[in-house]
Amino acid sequence: MSDFEAVIGLELHIQLNTKSKMFSSAPVTFGKVPNSSVDYYDFAFPGTMPTVNKQAVIYALMMCNALHMIIDDVLMFERKNYFYSDLPKGYQLTQEFRPIGKNGYLTIKLNDSDIKINISRLHLEEDTCKQFHTKDYSYLDYNRAGIPLIEIVSAPEIKSGTEAAKYVEKIRSIVTYLGISDGKMEQGSLRCDVNVSLKRKGDNQFGTKVEIKNLNSISNIQKAIDFEIERQSELLCSGIEIAQETRRFDESLKETVLMRAKVDNVDYKCFTDNNIPPIKLSAEFIKAAIESSPELAESKLKRYVSLGLSESDASIILDDKDIANYFEEALASGCSIKLLANWVNVNVKSFINKRNVEIKDFPIKPNELSDLILLIQNSKINNVQAKFIFEKMIETGKDAQTIVEFMGLEQISNKNQLLNIVKKVIKDNSKSISDYLKGRNRALGYLAGQVMKQTGGKANPQLVNKLLLEEIQRRK
């Protein structure tokens, strides 16, 4: 391998979660009865014509903006002509000549350094129908036909499986934060085709490209590429030429396997679709689309760090957009960001993992969690009490304040009240005092425990420690 470097390009197809299809007003649905979400156009009945979905265009503009692309303010669509069982019209409407976005980039973090990956183009197109195969027959479901897709094509400058995985993760994060797609690879709403070739270090000559298809998870993208680089370099080292072919990743073998040898590039005989006149996007329309974009993870991260959260804690929160939204809402209710991150990353996640539910099913609302944390911050309760209250909140659906009041759990922070108890404990435990004075620090813990016992666990621990030390000092 050391003699070669990999040249990797990724083509991502992402289903947009609009309400209607790209070119017809049939509803976009998932998992519905086959052929129940179709319009005449989706079946390619002669005489039906395409109309462009405004929301899909807005989503594409949001994505172009997030990827720092140059936006084309005239929309045109071309026909990519080929015959296939899953292609109702015998052509796919796509933006071959004038993609809505071109020449953008994104940055990924690898070993603490930022790597910029250029993106050649982003265009709008339509999905094909779904095929189900049995042993000798195939079945067509047109519900998927016409669902809006954006295709994002990276420049061929990704160098490793890890980089590719980071790139896809970043794109996935952006589309989910923008709310334009659910970005689920396993369900096919984000699909990835990979081109891998090797070239000799320092050489300008590109090697033969091998395409890898049907990758259904980010980790498989990484594994497939790593395997493919290894495979190709072994072949090249033994003087065997790389064949131009399409391969797929076999999960059980953890290898790429040959799907088909690639004949010459398919000639799609592209030309402009005349049913859709050129559509001029006004500057105001583009601006409004961009301004309607929700905040991306990258910008949230910066904001959280500026509020005092560590980058690693923030990243863990931002990994999952739904959890991040929960976090954001709780934060808006005024609690400490650090305490909140800790509660979300530890207690909330452990609950949803244990119960195998999603954050939207978590019984404590974001503002209620914030209220609980505010009680800690304001020394109304201590951590031990807080955990107890947290469980009770889940159990009963009641808010923290109600539980605190109902169970009389409010923390004792009244200095005079505590001082009396502290004095009594010191009087009753003279041995411990002398132990402490001899340097046995543990004795202080024992004394604090006694105070807690006397108060039924409600004493403010910080205040107890402070008072104990003051009293002991005084008696020295």
């Binding site: 079946f43 009945f45 005489g47 019209k89 015998g90 859709i276």
Partner: protein, 482 residues
Amino acid sequence: MGYMSKGLLEIHNAIIKGEITPLELVKEAVSLALNDDNNAFEYICANEALEKVKRLDDSKKDSLLYGVPIVIKDNYSTKDIPTTASSNILNGYIPIFSSEVVLRLEEQGAIVIGKAAMDELAMGGTGTTGHLGMTYNPWDKSHKRIIGGSSSGSAAAISAGITPVSIGSDTGDSVRKPASYAGLVGFKPTWGRISRHGLFPFATSLDHVAYFTRNVFDSAYLLNILAGRDDKDASSSFEKVDDYTKDLNKSIKGKKIAIIKDIVESISDKTILDSFYKTVEYLRSKGAIVDEVEMDNKLLKAIYPTYFIISSSEATSNTACLDGIKFGNRVEGKTFEEVMINTRTKGFSSRIKRRFVIGSFSLFKENQQELFVRAQKCRRMIVNAFNKVFEEYDAIYCPAAPSIAPIVGSNNNNLSNEYLIADNYLAYGNMGGYPSITVPIGFEKNMPFGANLSSKPFQESLLLNIANILEEGTELKDLVAK
């Protein structure tokens, strides 16, 4: 009886006066259609029409189309009525929706009584290539002469007096040429003026909804009903819709009309030329300024090949949905590719296949620049040349065809000026999307022939005005082949 030989106004007045009922009109038209001997029909909707006329909505009584039988070319989608575009590949196809044109006509109370035969998939100009065979010209009882195409059945139905109007489509000259051969008004409004939704596409950038009537007034009236934006067709125009009947009788004094010299000069038929120049004198007598204008002969000769390459190329894509899977005449095979290949091999005639091969070849990456794209460039030059004429003139006026309806099988010299220019120049109207109308101007050997007027996009009111004045002069209106 005999109302089906009249124009819309006369029929309407008869209904208003109670001389005849819509049901009687439909029965008359259906019976004439069933007795048609010109091979004009793909399908006669006898029962459907009778059902519909019984449920006719009174509130539309004021419409001139109320209760009026009409014929629709078989490349318009009609709900629950078989639609094949005269191609075997669509045998058995029964659409589940109606095209916008049909919906708008039916909304006015018109009753579809039949689907008209046509050249297969609208790709042809003779009316001889549909899967049911040749459509005859009703003016020639010996059945030797073609009526022209591709809207052959639509033209035959109205010129034989079966219905007063019929809908066709026009991609090169498919309504305006048969109109000339059949003694009819054939009108193709501006590209985008009428929704194409439901019209089976042949060459999208050239396809137009077009129709036949017996007089210019009826054409104007139909446009009032059919023109206007349809959100289902993104290419349909937002341009304001006029009352196209209101300016029909306006004076044409001072209107400037151009005759393209090279087009007229490529015609050798003396009778046609004489009649044509008589009409020119008449237009002048009405105050129009008519000038002969030169145009680059090479450009005129390039109209046909330019049209042919663009239309054949676009057609390959527009017909790619015809694979037998979702609809149409599926032929089985061992793999899905075999199903597609068998269906298409059996479904398309040899002629259509040859056209598709040229179209496909013109789009190949290695040929596209030299063939398809170069044709698109040539299209711009042609349209620029006509636009230049329209900068100075309100209309362009020329004979619609160099001859009366030819005898079937007569050979053309495909590289002669007469063939390349006079016989095929009308496609300029499709390339530039101009509104364009053919009206009858004379007879030769008892066969009619017409001339064509075109104007700038969306100038339909002016165009119909000139056509109407011309019609007054020729007195050739409401012609029916007897």
